[in-house]
């Protein structure tokens, strides 16, 4: 890491070298260990055409496909490129937070029942698919309309999608740009969590750090929240694969430092097609969480007939978008790539739901399994420093194979139970693979983003029930 130059607290520059068009900018604390390969990926991204200001690595960064996870890059619309590697395979892997009228006490009385009911109702879908079967024509409508379409079909209320990034629907989505293969992979998977780090968690508000803003978001101490973390499943994965191949055929990778940075000019036909297909996959993910929200409501209301469940907010973690930002002192629409990163807009932005607009956008940061998650708020500083972006989670530090050698699913489960957390998973192996110790310390990640001012801490959420794929 000798190349890194400290320029401010938790802020380092990766100087411009060789054919890098801009420097890199890394936001980490001295305590964090960074993989050399992830730094190299930040530098590689800086080679891309039309990149603005600097290539960013956030506090949760680790090695990804082409771009690092925890990576952010913005591009000029005329000169810049769009890259599937800058979005990731799991397009719109994202987090939705529900707030309920229940308290911790209510859940503790029926903790196991809640776990069993949610586990039964919300499948991981791994190897089993979804019980929600739809026709190809309907799926195409889902791809076009996202969460909004699901609500129109009766799976939720208008307030759900109004409290979702992009109001639960990327407008440029075009189902015709999604391949037959992608549709076949995804058609049986709507309403499923998937595996890996995806989960469903019943939590309670353990601590409030900002009473005023927490009140605006409708949260108080001991209140129960439910967090859903999932993405666009096989459909999104196939869209990414398809366009990586198409872009490679059309543009090749000769001038790139890494084959995985394959891209297309934003203004090109293929660039536009990828954006339309990616938007469709993003809508699949929005619809996926909408359907899961509907099922959660059914189950919770069965167990607690008077419970009220609202969407607090829903944020994208893997996405490319067109957003306004200040570049060289002037307003400009940029093409932002957030890969394992969250939008973090400050007060006043029109993209923020009206009822939150005065205080800023809610930012949802899930912890690793069994640890705390955080509700933060975006800031103007984030718009200045990171193109309105922040971290997405703790960030993995250990491989699955070493996790399997070190941890046993049974023990991980027992440890969580001893902490008062009920956990249920389709497989014990996946519990070992996702053991909390394989992730960075979420507290340190949160400290960095709050210290540099790209977020403000609002509330800490602790798990009571964890459902894993």
């Amino acid at each position: 890491m000798k190349k890194l130059k400290k320029i401010a607290e938790h802020t380092y520059e990766l100087p411009k070298e060789g054919k890098m068009k801009v420097p890199g900018r890394i936001f980490i604390s001295d305590k964090m260990v960074i993989e050399e390969d992830a730094l190299k990926q930040v530098a590689n991204v800086a080679h891309l055409q039309g990149i603005l200001d600097y290539s960013i690595g956030l506090a949760d960064m680790h090695v990804g496909y082409g771009f690092p996870i925890g990576g952010v890059a913005a591009f000029n619309l005329k000169k810049g490129v769009i890259s599937p590697g800058g979005v990731g395979y799991d397009i719109n892997c994202s987090v939705r937070l529900l707030k309920t009228s229940l308290t911790k006490k209510d859940i503790l009385k029926k903790q196991k029942e809640v776990m069993e009911a949610l586990y039964r109702k919300v499948p991981s879908g791994l190897g089993r698919g979804s019980k929600f079967q739809i026709t190809k024509e309907e799926l195409k409508k889902v791809l076009k309309g996202g969460a909004k379409y699901m609500v129109e079909k009766g799976y939720g209320v208008k307030e759900d999608y109004l409290h979702t990034e992009e109001e639960g629907c990327m407008e440029k989505a075009d189902a015709e740009k999604v391949s037959e293969r992608a549709i076949k992979r995804g058609i049986g998977q709507l309403g499923t969590l998937g595996a890996g780090n995806h989960f469903l968690e019943v939590q309670y508000v353990d601590e409030i750090f900002d009473e005023k803003i927490a009140k605006v978001f409708g949260l108080k101490k001991d209140q129960v929240t439910i967090m859903i973390h999932c993405g666009s499943r096989g459909l999104g994965h196939q869209v990414a694969s398809d366009y990586i191949k198409k872009m490679e055929e059309k543009y090749g990778f000769k001038n790139l430092p890494d084959r995985e940075l394959i891209n297309a000019p934003i203004t090109s036909q293929l660039g536009k097609e990828y954006f339309s297909a990616m938007s469709a996959a993003a809508n699949f993910a929005f619809a996926n969480k909408q359907l899961i929200t509907h099922w959660i409501r059914e189950e919770i209301k069965y167990l607690f007939p008077n419970a009220k469940i609202d969407v607090l907010y829903d944020v994208c973690h893997n996405i490319a978008k067109f957003e306004e930002n200040i570049i060289n002192g002037k307003k400009e629409i940029i093409c932002i790539h957030r890969k394992g990163a969250t939008r973090s807009f400050g007060p006043g932005r029109k993209e923020i739901p009206k009822d939150y607009r005065k205080v800023g956008q809610p930012v949802l940061i899930p912890g690793s399994m069994g640890t705390s998650s955080y509700l933060l708020v975006g800031t103007k500083k984030a718009e200045e420093l990171t193109f309105g972006s922040t971290v997405h989670g703790a960030g993995r530090v250990q491989s699955r194979s070493s996790a399997l050698k070190k941890f046993q699913g049974e023990k991980v489960k027992a440890e969580l139970t001893s902490k008062g957390i009920e956990v249920k998973s389709g497989s014990l192996k996946s519990l070992a693979e996702e053991s909390p110790q394989v992730y960075k310390d979420i507290e340190e990640v949160i400290k960095v983003v709050c210290d540099i001012g790209i977020n403000k801490k609002i509330a800490r959420l602790k798990p009571l029930v964890v459902i894993k794929g």
Partner: protein
Amino acid sequence: MKKFKFLEHTADIKFQAFGKNIEEAFENSALAMFTSMFEGKVNKKKSFKINVKGKDFENLLYNFLEELLFLFDSEKFFLANIKNIKIDKENFKLDAEVFGDDTENYEIHLDVKAITYNEMFVKEKKDNWVTQVVLDV
């Protein structure tokens, strides 16, 4: 000879597969991919004939594994073994018959999202073939 071995990778799955010829190395690559999702005996209750094309060996391996992943998601197919695998080394074409069972009968613990070109190679060594693949999970 070992069929395959898994290597360290922070977030994803990385493996090398071996074979006395390219066909066997490809077959073992497919078995490695499915082993990362579930380890154990898999029955042979259904089969598919597949043929894929590529532009080079890596591209052919990518397309072969992606075809199996496609069958996994769309046909709920879990691979047990492969028969009559033939690779046309000049034209980068592959034909094979794959046997396996319904995914629902197994406790799958990992979701393979995609095959990647990350560190991928297909190499002919002195007396065997070796492939290396990183799966995005």
